[in-house]
């Protein structure tokens, strides 16, 4: 058993940001990530971000990751990093159990930030387990991180921002996007992304879904079907499309399992993607000294994950005795930034969801 001041689980945007602000206060941090490299999903995002300067607007995701990683590297005397390591247990006496190189390691912590992010949702249809059917994150990983094409003829399912952006990335990599299916009557993501795809000749089919995949050992055809206004399939509208890959972009759900094991109070909030922890204004869960940041607290954009990371890093460090003179001011600033990011019509869902998890703490 090794003692650590602050342990952060997950080295994506939230975890990296948290490590940085915590280390700035003098706090010693252990940052643990399951993947071979830090950066989470950002390292595979080639598109430029929206938002304001403070959250790296107009910068490509992978460059934001580079910036966050290099920030963390400037504090290498206070931030220790372990990649390829999975936190598999969280115990009541402030201990985590970590699986690394086929061995288990135990660490005691004073404070913990859980920034495990989110996992891909799946869609139910016949043969949805055929190889060649991927989550949108997996397509980005293969293509943008490893330089491997997921296929040559693909159908995208889901028109949220992820579905739209990944379709564009696929085209950039030379993949033929044969159609983009959306079960709802309207496109889910930003119009500007959708228009770009239309200009490139992608068929965006609303009120249409995938009914089954066909193939032996790998998908080679899919059957689509149109939906009526009550989301019921309309018989006779089935169409076959030849593909060698299908990308499922139907949303993400928070990776809350560690929080559940630790006994944090959780709540099912559909607006935030699934089970999320009840938190206070500093992102502390119902377990003392255990904080959350990023998608695990509710699925949003990477920009809010970064700000949440900065905030919880400061708050967790302060909780264990590393409070900066301008602490209150910085916290207020991050809270304001989050408020700004969640303003406007696209933030309405998030605002409604967050109200549900915060309401209880204030009551």
């Amino acid at each position: 058993m090794t003692n650590k001041e602050l342990i952060i689980v997950g080295g994506g945007p939230a975890g990296l940001a948290a490590a940085y602000t915590a280390a700035q206060t003098g706090c010693h941090v252990l940052l643990i990530d399951r993947n071979p490299q830090m950066g989470g999903q950002l390292i595979k995002q080639t598109h430029k971000f929206f938002g304001s300067e403070k959250q790296f607007a107009k910068t490509r995701g992978l460059n934001i990751a580079k910036k966050l990683i290099s920030d963390v590297e400037t504090c290498s005397d206070r931030i220790e990093i372990i990649c390829d390591a999975t936190v598999v247990g969280l115990y009541a006496d402030q201990v985590v159990n970590v699986l690394h190189n086929e061995k288990y390691y135990k660490y005691h912590f004073d404070a913990l930030i859980i920034a495990t992010g989110a996992g891909e949702k799946m869609l139910a249809f016949e043969n949805n387990d055929l190889p060649g059917i991927y989550g949108a994150g997996a397509v980005q990983t293969l293509m943008n991180l490893y330089g491997v094409l997921p296929g040559q003829n693909i159908v995208m399912v889901g028109s949220g921002n992820i579905g739209l952006i990944v379709s564009y990335q696929l085209i950039q990599a030379g993949v033929h996007v044969k159609a983009l299916l959306e079960a709802a009557p309207k496109i889910g993501g930003y119009k500007v992304h959708a228009s770009k795809l239309r200009r490139l000749g992608v068929d965006i089919l609303t009120q249409t879904t995938i009914q089954r995949a066909i193939g032996n050992g790998c998908v080679n055809q899919i059957e689509t079907i149109e939906l009526d206004d009550s989301w019921k399939p309309i018989k006779g509208t089935e169409k076959l499309i030849d593909v060698d890959a299908v990308c499922i972009a139907v949303g993400l759900s928070p990776l809350y399992q560690l929080l559940a094991m630790g006994g944090a109070e959780l709540k099912y909030v559909p607006e935030l993607g699934g089970m999320v922890p009840i938190v206070d204004g500093l992102h502390q869960t119902t377990i003392n000294n255990i904080f959350v940041a990023g998608d695990v607290a509710g699925v949003e954009e990477a920009s809010s994950a970064i700000v949440e990371g900065y905030l919880s890093g400061l708050a967790a460090a302060a909780k264990i005795g590393y409070q900066q003179p301008d602490y209150q001011k910085s916290i207020a600033d991050y809270q304001q930034q989050l408020k700004n990011l969640r303003s406007g019509p696209f933030g309405a869902k998030i605002r409604a969801g967050l109200k549900k998890v915060e309401a209880k703490t204030n009551a």
């Binding site: 996992g119 891909e120 989550g135 997921p150 050992g217 790998c218």
Partner: protein, 101 residues
């Protein structure tokens, strides 16, 4: 299939890494995971489901969904999507639950 030309990303030539898949010699490149190297070689079926022997491939690529389990260097249930490829690895399709020695 690998990407060579990309408007934003650079994929420079990397060191070749040799490995074995189901007894056949394959190669990947430095930085690959086992799964990315197999996909680059056009291999999408990584294993079979235990009960019904349905083909299993990559789904999440971040070590979350357990769809990519294979036997690597005789150790079963390796998440090949997050395990880095290394020289001389023996990678096998895992048929059934895996065997320990």
């Amino acid at each position: 299939m690998r990407i060579f030309k990309h408007p934003i990303l650079d994929f420079p030539k990397k060191k070749v890494i040799h490995f074995q898949f189901d007894g056949v010699e394959f190669s990947g490149v430095e930085g690959d995971t086992i799964a990315s190297a197999l996909y680059a070689n056009g291999i999408k079926k990584l294993s079979e489901s235990v009960e019904r022997h349905r083909a299993r491939g990559l789904y999440c690529a971040i070590g979350n969904c357990s769809s990519c389990y294979m036997t690597v260097d005789h150790i079963p249930n390796i998440k090949t999507c997050v395990t880095p490829l290394s020289e001389g690895m023996i990678v096998e399709s895992q048929i059934g639950k895996g065997v320990i020695r």
